[in-house]
Symmetry: D2
Subunit: 311 residues, 4 copies
């Protein structure tokens, strides 16, 4: 398989939703449409079964069926990363090996709650790497708003130095701009190998983060075309153009970045854009009120007008 | 099935460990021995797959296999409660129905992290009860040290009033003595039905809690015979005798009550007592140092001497 | 004093910084300049010694000296709210009475950490109201990102119903749009009196919140003129104009909204705008890197260009 | 002043309550009686204004008045440590210098909430040490149950190595036995200087901790004579005798160790023993119910009987 993630992976890795039908069952037709939509948007990778992908609400069978289906649809075109975080290492190792065998490019691991010291984090990721084996590339997810676990820059660098398979950082600490600058400056130097850094946190600081050296984004914004263009324009040297485009979308980025309810908003937009058949979120999960629907309609219309004005 | 838990359930419901072999596989022979041991100790019920039962570290298949095996071994003798807490209601409902079909007496549900208001708790348990259906009796687990979720007395009473199937409280808030007194006094009065109250938190306050009206204990102390006798002596009116016996064990109760490492201690004692074949805890999990082993040896010897002195 | 806050208070209450000199001492000259600046911006109120006002880093003497100085400078022109949150009710009552005597319009109270149930919150605010006495109007601060305490809509309504002196809600729960809609709809009806609702959380959702019925904002954005105009345009019915103006500032709103470091950014902007003599933050506190300074320069320049383009 | 704490301090440092009259005012007569009581019990040090000493509920004037009074009463007899933790370094430095000038032996510092990485802890204690100056000995308080901050062994050792003035560890992490063993083994070796280790957490594991190398205890148990004798018997080699005595008190140790309510229990016992004039706790604070009072009476009577039986 040629598409393993590595220390130079870049571009937009879209975090995929997990589409359900109105009855709550996995909707694989919508999944196909969604994958095609992401590919059309120009994403360079896809991440499935992340924290926002409702992974803990799937059964073991559904998890594997969904992963296989996505990997099959994507084929060899772009790398697919699979979220495997969970409470037990046996389960994590089993799932990781299953998805790697059918073509995954790597796995994403967030720390368990309660790993409150560097010593505990080093111990945990040592166990994780041993359980997965050295052939499974890992994207380290640094998302304290959800996990309650904080990584220092020093800890991140130590982990990537000690474990060659930890090649990528999903950076979504907040506030985290200085942290990103430091990981960029202090990895790829001396005995610390380079890390690929993809930013999350709903892309709320995407231009600043790219300007500080991020390699791309890994987030689930429902207008992936913006993420792709912002990254590309930066790459082409059009920094202000990139930021102008981003700013036009910023009211919506901010709206989607609402923890919890953001998932329902994201699925609703994908539904309105014709990508998925139903905005269904599995229980327990957030739901939009009538007022939220009106507000979203208004924000989508304002976005359209801004994009027209930008030309 | 005659052994459903109800609002008058009482006595000791032992929290069962999940025995693994040295290789980490489920050890069903040890499971049989453990069940027989618990029954010999005189417990009135068994709870499996609780927070301390390493439930999240089992695969879906193992979960069901273990539950079936225990239920089969116990037969109709005493009620078996199954922990079904988890992130998704579909998974919770499926597991609940599977175990009820093969003879479980009820399920235990702890709230998800993040349910930080009474309104959210009421919403969540409303969804849980709807998903399980009215025929599945529920033991509500109030364990803020682990879940981060706090119940007020008012919330507990509202839940048991609104949902006839919430019949039992596993009380392990800490400090929680006044809370227990209030639930005892304010349930079983007016329009609020009686709740069975079984105490957890490693039984650290068992005599005080029985004296305040608890119906029994639901915890995993590795000397279940003490729990049984303390409850029985209280019932027989021998309050000081009950407390004298408890106090002899208190140094060990305190030692086992250490969150996290307590599980390794508990399994080690069960192993030393010949109940389970290996003290193996699945990763990531706590491990005892050589110093811990010596300390435990010393504490076990001191306990033996005290029991001799008590006669 | 005519300027007590009440259930109909509206407009922008700016959260004032506490200016320090380079040596860390209170800078009362800058304080005067800052007050005049806020008044020139058209704010309808000022809040001092809030969580972002570095209140816990002042000595008791400094706290009182600063409050007196601000109240003296403002005179009778607009109401001044004083943050009095703290660990002990005696201290809270003493400070509240001292500032009310010299002309404060009310006090702002955030719950202590650990008040994790509605029952505890009701108990706490009952004690607070008793300690302050009924003549001190209270602004209830709902800011879980910092306090760790969550209020349900039901709890907020109960508190304002039970305590006539709780007249105002500083709404900064996040995500919180539906909560705001509900407090708006469910206060001022039946036996629940109207609450004034001012929004915080750095104004990240100001247009949506005004459209949902907020009475104004209480936050410390370093361009208060934007907050004032957005509120006024909404009042005048120019909803899209208000939102266009807001969106121009949104990249900066988002930048200032970074918890912790946001205070340093805010003070730096006020310093660059000539409002305060030094951007000094007392230790322990956040500091800007050279990279942050460049980034801020760029964002301020982009803002200027956008405002020019808006005309 | 000869009584500075240092790396070899040992014995029982009792955590003093702050006595209030029924009206809530500082009760300095009771303070005198309490100090004399502690001295009569044979304590080797006294710690005032700790987390359990209601420090945040005192005004600045009261804090200083109480500290001066205690220091004056104690005179040169034993060292007095003063808790100075708080949100601002200016306040911490001022209070530290004031109490050192009037004879304190050192200060105790707990980390602020939110210091969630080793890098942040090192930064914070670097600032603390710089603010206090090298002449103020520091006792590092490791109390995650209250602060939410966790120290690894590595962080503790780094701090004491980097800062010669950090001479003592108040160890009250839980579970924490292995941590204690490691700090004991890994300080006082190579380039890491020895630390004095005094244990807290209400002394719940005192014998185990002394056996693992702790130098003594720093906690507020209302029967300090037990703490003193347990430490002395260990020192004299009578390990089982020490533990027998401890076990007799263990039901009460466990009862006092209840976070929050424990302070009210402790003050009530000191009141019943004739040490302080009133069990008053300042608001907001815990209160005992009638049931709690009866339960305490029963536990105190059981303790008396056990001590008689021990001879």
């Amino acid at each position: 398989m040629t598409h393993r993630i590595d220390r130079h992976s870049e571009g937009v890795f879209i975090i995929a939703a997990t589409p359900f039908g109105k009855d709550g069952a996995l909707d694989l037709d919508s999944t196909d449409r969604m994958i095609d939509f992401y590919l059309d948007c120009g994403v360079m990778g896809i991440t499935i079964l992340g924290i926002m992908g409702e992974a803990p609400k799937l059964s073991g069978e559904e998890t594997l069926a969904f992963a296989r289906h996505v990997l099959n649809r994507v084929g060899n075109r772009i790398p697919v990363v699979v979220g495997v975080s969970g409470a037990g290492l046996d389960n994590m190792a089993r799932l990781s090996h299953e998805v790697m065998e059918v073509g995954a490019a790597g796995v994403m691991v967030a720390p368990m709650p309660g790993l409150a010291t560097e010593a505990k984090l080093k111990g945990y990721f040592g166990q994780v790497c041993a359980a997965l084996g050295p052939d499974v590339p890992i994207c380290l997810q640094d998302y304290p708003q959800t996990t309650g676990v904080q990584f220092s820059v020093e800890t991140i660098l130590t982990l990537t130095r000690d474990h060659p398979q930890i090649v990528m950082l999903k950076h979504e600490d907040w506030p985290g701009l200085t942290k990103l600058s430091r990981v960029r400056a202090e990895s790829g130097t001396g005995d610390t190998p380079r890390m690929s850094i993809l930013v999350g946190n709903a892309a709320l600081f995407l231009p600043q983060e790219i300007q500080r050296g991020a390699d791309g984004a890994m987030t689930g914004f429902a207008y992936p075309e913006m993420l792709v263009q912002v990254v590309e324009r930066h790459k082409a040297g059009d920094v202000d153009g990139a930021e102008d485009l981003f700013d036009a979308y910023l009211p919506m980025v901010r709206y989607e970045q609402q923890l919890g309810i953001g998932l329902a908003i994201r699925k609703e937009i994908l539904h309105r854009r014709g990508v998925i058949g139903s905005p269904k979120v599995r229980a327990p999960g957030p739901a939009l009120t009538a007022r939220d629907h009106e507000e979203l309609t208004r924000l989508m219309a304002r976005l359209d007008r801004k994009l027209e004005a930008l030309g």
